[in-house]
Symmetry: C2
Subunit: 443 residues, 2 copies
């Protein structure tokens, strides 16, 4: 048995009561939280082999990134100031397609490293069509918790030929991958059905995925939807109906589907999302940098739709840092509605933790600091100049803190980052490999 006590000046539970405990601590045994309380009581009731001290620290449940493309990380900064379809066809898809097996591993590991370094302990990740095993291996190697899977595309709409696969081949691969990876690594890795979007997925494929999903426990469909007006117009031409209506007819909505973006919907479509209990991931940096539009998060929340927060990929962000997404989500919503009261910090922090966990149907295990849940958590240091003064730790996390203030990150009871060092990931090695790739592209 390995056990540890983690202390903090402020501990934020992010559960229903959303308690802020001053001078708090958690007691972790192996991969689970066994007790939460005041620093004093935890030390009175338990003695642990290891104590992680909490002076000038906030302790928070790990952030849940509900939409990422770890494998695009080597393309960070290669595709700025471009429109979505150009961005995809000219830079991102050719980039993804040209990766070697080792580059897929490097790119994804780099992405997971950045997430971990900035407090993300779980992500919902889309890989490439080719060599996706190497991306899954990167997730296993990094220590992060993830829903993850290969990118599924069987229709060519101006995309690189070698990204497109036959529907039957995709179905075979997916079923093999589910066997190999789903619910492995003590359930830290779950396989995901990552249909890229309706412009690259046939109706046959979408229906097939819906069938597969019903045959296996706890698998979700993860796809992009209604991100960009031009994309929506193309879907309407291709399917003869609007995006969410098309997904509904393909039986692809439901509480085991998560849609990235969800910006350009009409009222019928909002109601389809609500009635089917479909999950939305809001990705504010991506939506801004690609000029897609501002998702009406307030409307979804008023309808009780479950909304998580995501970074999307490095080429459209250009970070994988959920602190940036929290702040921007609140800011965009306030300025969209010209109402400074919408999406206050308490709601945003929940979107980035327990609501993200709900969106991924993982809230029984993660998303809050509660007894019995997984020890997925992190400490934020509050000693730098941006943290002075500090009246409300939740306001601080959302509006003032930086991902760079993250001091310690734990997933499944294992410390993955502490005192500016990764414990498992070899950053120097990653940097060298990334530089090789960078130089090859620049040649």
């Amino acid at each position: 048995m390995s056990d540890v006590i983690i202390e903090a000046d402020y501990l934020i539970t992010c559960n229903l009561t959303n308690a802020v405990i001053q001078d708090g601590a958690v007691y972790v045994v192996d991969d689970r939280i066994k007790a939460i309380g005041s620093r004093k009581n935890i030390h009175k009731d338990f003695s642990a082999n290891v104590v992680i001290e909490g002076l000038n620290k906030i302790l928070v449940p790990g952030l849940v990134n509900t939409h990422s493309h770890s494998v695009q990380t080597l393309l960070r900064g290669k595709a700025d100031d471009l429109a979505l379809i150009d961005w995809l066809q000219k830079i991102v898809l050719p980039g993804e397609t040209s990766f070697t097996t080792d580059e897929v591993h490097t790119s994804s590991l780099l992405g997971f490293a950045e997430m971990i370094r900035t407090g993300t302990t779980t992500c919902n990740d889309m890989l490439t069509t080719k060599y996706s095993d190497y991306g899954i291996q990167a997730a296993i190697d990094s220590g992060i918790r993830t829903r993850i899977g290969k990118m599924l595309m069987d229709v060519n709409n101006g995309f690189p030929d070698d990204m497109i696969e036959h529907t039957e081949k995709i179905v075979e691969d997916v079923i093999k991958d589910i066997g190999d990876y789903h619910q492995t690594q003590k359930n830290r890795i779950k396989y995901s059905l990552n249909a890229r979007f309706l412009l690259s997925c046939s109706p046959q494929l979408m229906k097939k995925l819906s069938e597969i999903q019903k045959n296996y426990p706890d698998i979700m469909i993860h796809t992009h939807a209604s991100e960009n007006r031009e994309e929506c117009a193309q879907v309407e031409r291709y399917y003869g109906k609007s995006y969410i209506r098309a997904l509904n007819e393909l039986d692809a909505l439901g509480n085991q589907t998560i849609l990235a973006h969800g910006i350009w919907l009409d009222d019928v479509e909002y109601n389809l999302i609500k009635q089917t209990d479909t999950r939305i991931t809001h990705n504010p940096s991506s939506n801004s940098k690609l000029a897609s539009g501002i998702c009406d998060v307030s409307k979804y929340l008023d309808m009780d739709v479950i909304v998580g927060l995501g970074t999307d990929g490095a080429p459209c962000n250009n970070n994988l840092d959920m602190f940036r997404e929290m702040r921007l989500a609140s800011f965009l919503q306030k300025v969209k509605h010209l109402n400074e009261r919408v999406l206050p910090s308490k709601v945003v922090l929940k979107m980035a933790t327990i609501e993200g966990a709900k969106a991924l149907n993982l809230d029984k295990e993660i998303g809050s600091l509660e007894i019995g849940k997984k020890a997925d958590l992190f400490q934020v240091d509050i000693s730098d100049v941006n943290c002075i003064p500090l009246y409300d730790p939740i306001s601080h996390l959302v509006y003032s803190a930086s991902g760079k203030d993250v001091n310690m990150v734990m997933v499944d009871g294992k410390i993955l980052f502490k005192d500016n060092q990764f414990t498992i990931i070899d950053l120097q090695n990653l940097r060298e490999k990334a530089t090789l790739y960078q130089n090859r592209w620049n040649e």
Copy 2:
């Protein structure tokens, strides 16, 4: 004579050619840049007492924060999710008014410290009505370059009584302050005429300020304008005309006036700004968090209006970090216009440096790395995981980097921050004083 060579993997000049020099260096003697070139040539031509090495570093001209309220820093996180007028009347103005002399000094010094730590070397700062000498002293003590002055308010529109002063008293104070502070500290401190906004300044005061400005060299009027629709409506009721028209009739526009925000203008007003060569400071975090609206920066730039970037104060941001403003300025403009090509990284970096310097009429001295200009500059470390890979250092600075990546900051040839330590500012002392204030408020 003190001299230093500062190296970098990438040196960005931010002047007209906006050159990026790989393996570059600058040679600084006392407070001025004496040479710029390749690392190799600088070392060949000069030998300096001190060499600041540049492995994994970008070297950039210091950022210019064209709108700040350093003195509000002790109120960071006290006024979240409130509308502008409530925010002012309920929290910010009572807060400013209640400060003791020592708290004014602490609050401003904390603000300057955060700016310096994140690469800002010049700011355009508004203090309080009371005890503004202590804020100016904080600027002197911090080492930052600034236009700065007391807050001028002679009209009571629901503001705390003790913030409002008689017009004659204000004019006396201003003239005394100009004598005491203007163009002191080797010209590092310039006095500024900080009329809060038209709802707290009488026409008499505005006209008087315009006269004073014409009688002294190199003094600017700094005021808020057209920030919020409700504020604009109140100005229209009070003055019988719209905001910019009212300022124009008061003879308060011109190339020595800088207006904060400038969001709700009609075409006549845009043209008044252009014709008078009035300067705009865009403050994207503040405009978002206070739900004021998105300033049409693209329109100003298309009209060749000079636009700088500012943080505004900590209670409406909640940071004083220009890296956040650069990224957000680009993002807001792209999503406002649904056009991903507007405000690309090259334009944004210039807004935060040379254009900001132009907005403040300081571009002969600062804003770019050029021979003869002041040695106001900083290094950004590019070894952390968010910096890998790095294809374009300008894209990196605007879209990926964090203010926390700043490694060394120099103003007037003096190092103010290096390797995570302030050289002049005592952060521990500031933290203790801020905590005393925080606890007093919480009592």
